[in-house]
């Protein structure tokens, strides 16, 4: 029996990634990292800034993501996100830029606790990437 399922990542502009030979995906869900294997129960959750790891036959990939929603149903994993970057394609300056942006944002006074939490997360992830 094959242990593979399908993943689809879409952003508003286009279908970002479609793969159907994925064996495991690790997503940064809102309440902690979540590994998804085949025949996982149907789930909807949203994502916080972090790294998506996709393990598949054709090679492993990681993506940096800032927000999104993940839906798993009938062995179809869909991730909706508005900002996603392939880590392999990110160069040093891009990472620095994102980090700087996030730090600027966290410097503002009038943000809510929830968004502050998300921004802190973002900064942490970006720091580990850098």
């Amino acid at each position: 029996m094959s242990e593979e399922f399908k993943i689809e990542i879409v952003n508003p502009e286009k279908s970002f990634l479609v793969k159907d030979d994925v064996s495991e995906v690790v997503v940064p869900a809102y309440e902690g990292e979540m590994g998804i294997l085949k025949d996982h129960i149907s789930i909807i959750s949203f994502l916080k800034p972090g790294i998506i790891k996709i393990l598949s036959k054709s090679g492993d990939e990681s993506y940096y993501i800032e927000d999104g929603i993940v839906e798993f149903k009938n062995n179809n994993l869909s991730i909706l996100t508005s900002s996603i970057f392939n880590i392999a394609d990110m160069d040093k300056s891009k990472k620095q830029d994102l980090l700087k942006q996030a730090e600027e944002e966290s410097g503002k006074e009038e943000i809510s606790d929830q968004s502050r939490y998300l921004i802190d997360q973002k900064i942490e992830v970006l720091k580990t990437l850098n």
Partner: protein, 291 residues
């Protein structure tokens, strides 16, 4: 009758107009391909988003406390209409079609004694609406600087709408845009985004229950504002494809009309040239005869 020189000048001017419209048509055709592509690519996102929300809202346990963006304020006194048009003219009936659709909706609302608020996206819509509904327009946004429709702009519009909703400035929000069907057909659409209209797509929801993390309410509260931006973005993409399509066919018509006009003027020019020559000949002959 116009003199030969005048005719010559007119032919030249029509020809140069034709050149411009031809160039505009080709530019629109090139842009159309791009816009159409991005409109098609953008569809999966908004469809998926819609599906997730439908699944969520069908699974929601406490209907009473459902988020207001989903269920509405329970009132329908104040209507907000977001009219999305282009920033540039010369695109046939593109803008007037949206405006016409919007105006008929406006008069319906007003005749029911409801309060109307208008938000225009794109300067052409603002130009056409401000004469009749100037006092109703509360916001005017235009993205002249950005070349293509992008999510960032849509998000800006979405945030304004949500902000106004949270300050309970309106109860129902509808967006107006042109849906792209093909190059010659664009259908003006009125889509209600607040409260969310979930009719007609029931068959997509499954009975299967989902696990939610965190709970439904929190996900919905997070998702619904995003969905509004997504719907606006979708409208923007459709609009930009429609705009280019509409401009392309309008410019195609203009080029053809200019060609017809050049033909007609050329015939007229040749006729009057001939007439002048004949006249001269008659004069010469009758002069010779009288000798």
């Amino acid at each position: 009758m116009a003199s030969l020189d005048d005719l010559k000048k007119r032919i030249a001017s029509v020809k140069s107009t034709q050149k411009i419209t031809k160039a505009m048509k080709m530019v629109a055709a090139a842009k159309l391909r791009k816009a159409q592509e991005s409109a098609e690519k953008g569809r999966p996102y908004s469809e998926k988003m819609n599906n997730v929300i439908l699944n969520l809202s069908s699974g929601i346990s406490d209907k009473e406390n459902a988020p207001k963006l989903l269920s509405g304020t329970g009132d329908n006194k104040v209507y907000l209409c977001v009219v999305m048009t282009s920033d540039r003219g010369l695109c046939g009936g593109f803008n007037s079609n949206i405006i016409k659709k919007a105006k008929s909706y406006f008069s319906k609302i007003l005749s029911e004694g409801k309060e109307l608020k208008i938000m225009t996206v794109g300067s052409k819509g603002n130009d056409q609406l401000k004469r009749m509904y100037g006092d109703k327009i509360i916001e005017n946004i235009s993205f002249k600087e950005s070349k293509n429709a992008n999510y960032f702009d849509a998000d800006k519009v979405g945030k304004i709408v949500i902000d106004k909703f949270e300050r309970s400035e309106f109860d129902i929000c509808t967006i107006f845009y042109n849906q792209f069907k093909n190059v010659i057909t664009q259908i003006p659409q009125a889509q209600q985004i607040i409260p969310l209209n979930s009719e007609g797509s029931e068959d997509n929801t499954s009975e299967e229950s989902y696990e939610f993390e965190p709970d439904e309410d929190e996900i919905l509260n997070n998702l619904l504002p995003k969905n509004i931006s997504t719907q606006i973005f979708k409208a923007m993409l459709e609009n930009s494809a429609s705009e280019q399509g509409s401009r392309m066919s309008a410019m195609d018509n203009a080029t053809r009309n200019a060609g017809e006009m050049v033909d007609k003027l050329t015939i007229q020019y040749n006729r009057s040239r001939q007439a002048a020559i004949t006249k001269e000949l008659i004069e010469i002959i009758s002069g010779a005869e009288s000798l």
